[in-house]
């Protein structure tokens, strides 16, 4: 019997699925809520990307889930059923790609080099790239702050949502960290998150216009 997991591109070993791997994938993919859960996750992540790039989060989510399943079947991204569930694997890949999409939206193209003094041009470009990266970083931070401010303004008066936002800004990522920092009970947290979700659903178009305004 071969290894259980697909080694993918990182391992540089051609991916050959085993019966056990195929069985695990078929079983988990056949769970009635699998695709819905993956898509809803991707759709929400798409709303983050929507702040910097005009897109339809629903279509973005569907496409992303499909791409990740295809890449998993092809072994481009490795899934080890003994380590994580298929849904967690898909969500992790969605998170990573959507984060990349969000950041990539700020990248700028460099001009091609020609003529004499190419080495000097390369040096100049490297220096320029560093400066540009700093500018891009500053731009990203400015934009993320604007989005957070808009969300905060929209949530003004909802103390629990504001405490959740504070917790995120203070670096809380897991549910336990949010509960601890925000000082919320599980029930308060669930209700606040539901309100925040509804609130954000009404924001994207305003935020895009705001984020992409001419500078």
């Amino acid at each position: 019997m071969m290894a259980l997991s697909n080694t993918g591109r990182a391992g540089k070993v051609p991916f050959i699925a085993t019966e056990e791997w195929l069985h695990a994938l078929t079983e988990q993919m056949s769970e009635p809520t699998f695709y819905d859960a993956a898509w809803r996750y991707a759709e929400r992540r798409g709303r983050m990307v929507q702040h910097v790039q005009k897109l339809d989060p629903e279509a973005y989510g569907m496409e992303l889930v499909q791409d990740i399943i295809d890449d998993t079947l092809e072994g481009t991204i490795a899934w080890d059923p003994k380590r994580v569930t298929l849904l967690k694997h898909v969500r992790d890949a969605i998170k990573s790609r959507s984060r990349h999409h969000y950041r990539r939206a700020y990248r700028r193209r460099h001009h091609s080099l020609a003529g004499s003094g190419v080495v000097a041009q390369v040096d100049d470009q490297i220096a320029a790239a560093h400066r540009e990266t700093e500018i891009e970083q500053a731009e990203r931070r400015r934009h993320a702050n604007e989005v957070l401010d808009r969300i905060r303004n929209a949530a003004a008066g909802d103390v629990e949502v504001e405490r959740m936002l504070d917790a995120h800004e203070r670096g809380a990522e897991t549910r336990a960290e949010i509960l601890h920092i925000a000082g919320l009970t599980k029930l308060q947290y669930d209700a606040a998150r539901k309100r925040l979700d509804r609130l954000i659903e009404t924001l994207p178009s305003q935020l895009i216009t705001h984020a992409l305004r001419p500078r």
């Binding site: 019966e19 195929l22 695709y35 859960a37 499909q66 998170k95 702050n145 539901k194």
Partner: protein
């Protein structure tokens, strides 16, 4: 895991990312599927099943071709007449049990005859 306190550079981006991550997880775990979502899920599942079926087919090992046993040297040494005589003898001995799918033995080459004899002589009684 919380971000390092002195890692302020990407703090707003990390905060936004964490916020959307929290909402995405919530939606994934508690959301309800609309008929449109369900329809898409059915299509995706069918599409993936097709791909899995193709992958399973590739798992089936190739069937090794059956190699003919080598013909015994004693049969190789026999002439066509001797082979036909041996065939008659075996047919007679086995009665109606011998049936050859060729109406005329003359259509069989010498090697075909040797193969027939090899099969008849090594077949279990």
């Amino acid at each position: 895991m919380m971000s390092a306190p002195d890692d302020d550079d990407d703090k707003p981006i990390d905060a936004l990312d964490a916020l959307y991550e929290d909402l995405a997880l919530y939606a994934s775990e508690h959301g309800t599927a609309t008929p449109k979502d369900k329809e898409w899920a059915v299509r995706m599942r069918a599409r993936t099943m097709d791909k899995l079926a193709a992958m399973r087919r590739n798992l089936v090992p190739d069937v090794e071709p059956i190699k003919a046993r080598p013909i015994r040297p004693s049969l190789l040494a026999m002439t066509r007449d001797a082979l036909l005589a041996r065939f008659d003898e075996i047919s007679h001995r086995m009665g109606g049990a011998v049936q050859v799918a060729h109406r005329h033995l003359k259509d069989l080459s010498d090697d075909d005859l040797r193969r027939v004899l090899e099969t008849l002589e090594t077949a279990p009684e």
